[in-house]
């Protein structure tokens, strides 16, 4: 789960990490009030749950109140990678002489939280990572020790020359780790962390992602969730025990298991087709799940064919077949369905299916080819 810059910085601020003075605004009137309150210059920043807003023109420096209003007018309502800008952050302009990148995330290799720091802040860190990987320093944090003072100092000495800055930075680093742990984050980033002309270390931006598996114990974070329409659909699916991701093809897929679902999409593409979605109905096999999955697939107008690929394990093929029959009874399905059942209770499942004269196929490749054929026939 992601949250906005202004929310991340509110959390930083609650942990006494210095951030810019700033006001969240929904309209131009609020921007005027904010400029009045903060003084000039200000920076106007689009608040959207995606990256790349800078390139998209979603960040503007304004030296006059008029410029601030103009920038706000331009940015509000702007589309950034499919996200409409509904909120903007008006932040006090700060003079600084150096930009750093710091971030914490999970490192699967050391099985720890890893701290990343770079003197090359202020730019897209992914590009630094690609072009100049040594410029990003990495420090795995021992989970039994946490971010000790010495470790925070060691990192700070690697980034800063002046001891006054080292002291400020190491304090911030300890707090960032504390935030990461206490909020069950999966990513905490400050880019840029700056040294102001007054010699103060300060977060000019903030980014936080959270571990979805831990949201149950982070109710204050969960409240901040602002899913997009697609994400809402995915969330609703998740509540029914389904993992659903909408894509742009026309073959609706229903598969059990994430890996098999990906492999199914791969096969469809391999034979020249285009999957309309990733849909994993998961391990357990209640017929209701199949009904929910069918509803989800049929709600996408792009779907021309449905391809069902089940490898019975925990999932029992006869359960799937029964769910499918019920779904067909309850809802109007006027597009073709290709079914492949295999594994636990496949024979019983196939028998149930065949009683309805639904087409079944034996292999995954066959299923994909048949789905593509039917899809082309629809056009």
């Amino acid at each position: 789960m992601k949250i906005h810059e202004y929310q991340s910085k509110e959390i930083f601020s609650n942990y006494s990490i210095p951030v810019t003075n700033e006001v969240l605004c929904y309209n131009v009137d609020e921007v005027k009030a904010a400029v009045h309150k903060l003084g000039l210059p200000v920076v106007i920043k689009a608040q959207v749950l995606t990256g790349g807003r800078g390139k998209a023109g979603g960040v503007k420096l304004a030296k006059t109140a008029e410029a601030a209003v103009e920038a706000a007018n331009n940015i509000l309502g702007m589309d950034i990678k499919g996200y409409t800008v509904e909120k903007i952050l008006v932040a006090q302009g700060v003079k600084f002489n150096k930009e750093f990148y710091v971030g914490l995330t999970i490192d699967r290799n050391t099985k720890s939280v890893i701290f990343m720091g770079s003197k090359e802040g202020g730019v897209e860190i992914e590009e630094v990572a690609k072009d100049n990987p040594e410029a990003i320093l990495k420090f795995p944090i021992d989970p039994d020790l946490g971010m000790t003072p010495f470790m925070a100092r060691k990192i700070a000495f690697a980034l800063f020359d002046d001891f006054q800055l080292v002291k400020q930075a190491s304090d911030i680093f300890q707090k960032l780790y504390k935030i990461f742990l206490e909020k069950d984050a999966s990513l905490v980033e400050i880019n840029p962390l700056v040294v102001t002309d007054e010699g103060k270390v300060m977060a000019l931006d903030g980014k936080m992602n959270f571990d979805d598996n831990a949201l149950y114990r982070q109710s204050d974070i969960e409240l901040l969730n602002e899913p997009t329409e697609d994400e809402r659909k995915e969330l609703a699916a998740k509540e029914s025990g389904l993992t659903y991701i909408r894509l742009d093809g026309s073959i609706g897929c229903m598969v059990n298991g994430a890996g098999l679902a990906m492999a199914t999409m791969d096969i469809i593409k391999y034979f020249g087709g285009n999957p309309a979605n990733f849909l994993d109905i998961g391990g357990s096999s209640s017929p209701q799940k199949v009904i929910d999955a069918m509803t989800l697939l049929l709600s996408d107008k792009n779907v021309k064919v449905i391809m069902i690929n089940i490898f019975g394990g925990i999932t029992r093929c006869d359960d799937v077949a029964r769910g499918l029959i019920t779904a067909l009874d309850e809802m109007k399905v006027d597009i073709p369905i290709v079914i492949r059942l295999s594994g636990t209770n496949a024979e019983e499942g196939l028998k149930i299916i065949s009683e309805r004269n639904l087409p079944t196929v034996n292999s995954l490749s066959e299923a994909a080819q048949e789905a593509i054929r039917l899809c082309k026939a629809c056009n």
Partner: protein
């Protein structure tokens, strides 16, 4: 031989009285797994499938000599169950539970390392040594005893692969589902080395997924340490970037972790990669003949 589980495995089921725990205990027992105990706090003294239930893992170990544990408890309790198993001296813990918070797993792994306890999972289907011991929720009927060691980050895709292997006459020594979480227990490298050291394993199948760099690291490890033939498959060759495909591990972003990079990494160290599952058995046979 085989790896990790075999006829000497004495299994304790943590969460045996739960719906899933009870169901799969029945399945595992039916397969012939030597299940010696169950654990469910407050249910000590009961029996599930004629298996005695204890209040703590420590008691179960003391009374039954259990050496392996399978965990099927709700996700918020799973990490604590792992710690309890390690504390009680269990050698191998297999955690099926899905949705365990990552920071819990980081803490648990650190403790396991200190205790020298092995972990498979969390969020995994478990493992099987065909005709000896099933410790997990894999559909037993598709497996066949043989000499191919298999490891996978995915569940049902593994079943598909195994059924292809079996129907092509390629039996398995041990098949391990390592799980798809960001922080997992035993990983490709660990299992590659175990298969390398296992005289019963003649060839290795590695089933990977998009996201992370585990496959790239595995490729590097194979180059440096593995002499047995290895064949791979990568799911998610066509997945769009930045989308989370059901496994926490299966996310590709910023141009790293794509299937193409992983395939390149494997082929660069002489590990052929099947483009479709159905191609894998033949690739494997070819490698084994070399």
């Amino acid at each position: 031989m085989s790896i990790l589980v075999n006829k000497n495995t004495k299994l304790v089921v943590q969460g045996i009285t739960g719906r899933d725990g009870s169901f799969h205990t029945g399945k595992m027992k039916a397969y012939g797994t030597n299940i010696v105990a169950g654990v469910s706090p407050g249910k000590g003294g009961q029996f599930v499938h004629e298996i005695p239930v204890f209040n703590t893992v420590e008691e179960a170990v003391k009374k039954t000599g259990a050496n392996t544990s399978i965990i099927m408890v709700p996700a918020p309790l799973a990490a604590d169950a792992i710690l309890e198993a390690a504390d009680a001296g269990i050698e191998l813990v297999v955690c099926i539970s899905e949705g365990v918070p990552t920071l819990d797993m980081i803490k648990a792994n650190s403790y396991l390392k200190k205790k020298g306890t092995k972990l498979i999972g969390a969020n995994c289907p478990g493992l099987i040594t065909p005709e000896e011991s099933l410790v997990g929720i894999l559909p037993a009927n598709i497996f066949k005893k043989g000499n191919v060691g298999l490891m996978s980050r995915s569940g049902t895709l593994t079943y598909l692969m195994v059924s292809l292997l079996t129907s092509n006459g390629l039996g398995q020594s041990t098949c391990v589902g390592i799980g798809g979480d960001p922080v997992a227990g035993l990983y490709y490298q660990d299992l590659l080395q175990m298969f390398e050291d296992d005289p019963e394993t003649e060839a290795i199948v590695l089933i990977g997924e998009i996201g992370g760099d585990a496959e790239e690291r595995a490729a590097q490890y194979i180059k440096e340490h593995i002499t047995k033939p290895v064949v791979a498959f990568i799911a998610g060759q066509t997945a769009p970037p930045g989308k989370r495909m059901g496994h926490a591990g299966a996310i590709i972003s910023s141009g790293s972790g794509t299937a193409e990079e992983k395939i390149t990494a494997f082929e660069a160290v002489g590990v052929p990669v099947a483009r479709r599952p159905v191609e894998l058995p033949d690739l494997l046979k070819k490698q084994m003949k070399k």
